[in-house]
Symmetry: C2
Subunit: 204 residues, 2 copies
């Protein structure tokens, strides 16, 4: 198809598609003349992935390029792909994390039997979140409560991983964008469930 | 204690503490002279809470002020208390929500048997989150998957509500603030659990 049809099918303006081509996010089409190129279904999927990462995922062009580079790189396993997708959606880490809290987070994850590399940046993030919650006097940072939240996270992960499609391009989209987009949904459902439970108990 | 000691104990610079005082986030200390005031343990707790809300919760100064106002405000009927506290931590609603998606969210919650007032703003938020996810092609917005996330939310709410045993009014407000501070932790645990599960399955 021509670029105009790619534009129609993805609802992305031609000028924007050309921008993606210049930025190297979208691979060049097959040249059909000096000024024209032909695009295929792979380009449609790629444009949709770029849009989802930029618009809904809220990622920068640089981070989208990082995700796509991993996708286009040498054959990777699904597990590595998940790590790459997660890394692209991980918020910036604290500049001066407290190593003691990273250690506590690492130890918690180890004791739980989760197989996580010790240099995983999410461990630094979890440590920092624990530190802040404890500093604010939230008892939820207590070991038992943390375990209960981790139980819930295990159930979430089962839903998430079960719903990952086999094709790498769609898998990346599902994990990176799906996780980003369902995060707020889960937090909203959490609040609604709190209200429902609270209302149920107060009328008992 | 003097402001310098408050600074040492909270590890927040004096200039920042003065900023919190000016912004009305931190109540004034007891004046001990024309230029000095005395602060107590309540101030230490309050500063820690402010820090956690700003850093971990990622709230703006204006929203922190709103949360603190809800915490300090007059006691309201127990029935609506959780809702009031939750409202303070609810992100701004979309300006022009699609009523059709609010209806879908409301219907979902009803069918689930959650007792939620139909004018609850969280329903508008959930509808908008659903709309965005569907637009990005995330299959998680599918009814079955949404139900599975709601099951997880039910378990989260049980942990949340159980962790405040006798639930006096102030404690219920703490549920709302505690929820805000544990939100990011749960999302990090979700990603770690995804990795653990994915690693487990790929080595099987």
């Amino acid at each position: 198809m021509r670029i105009s049809e790619l534009s129609t099918r993805t609802q992305v303006p031609v000028a924007t598609l050309k921008y993606y081509l210049r930025e190297g996010l979208l691979p060049a089409g097959t040249a059909t003349s000096r000024t024209q190129a032909s695009y295929d279904a792979g380009h449609v999927d790629r444009v949709r992935l770029i849009r989802a990462l930029l618009e809904s995922g809220g990622l920068s062009i640089a981070r989208v390029r990082q995700v796509l580079a991993a996708l286009d790189g040498p054959e990777v396993g699904r597990h590595h792909l998940l790590g790459v997708a997660q890394q692209a959606i991980t918020p910036p880490l604290p500049e001066h994390p407290d190593p003691e809290w990273t250690r506590i987070a690492t130890q918690f994850v180890e004791q739980r039997g989760w197989c996580i590399p010790p240099d995983e940046p999410l461990l630094v993030l979890l440590g920092e979140q624990l530190r802040l919650a404890v500093a604010a006097g939230v008892e939820s940072a207590d070991e038992t409560l943390l375990s209960r939240y981790a139980d819930v996270a295990d159930r979430l992960a089962e839903i998430d991983v079960d719903s990952v499609p086999a094709a790498p391009e769609r898998a990346l989209r599902q994990v990176a964008v799906g996780t980003l987009l369902t995060d707020p949904m889960i937090l909203t459902l959490r609040r609604l469930a709190q209200q429902a439970l609270s209302s149920e108990r107060s009328t008992r």
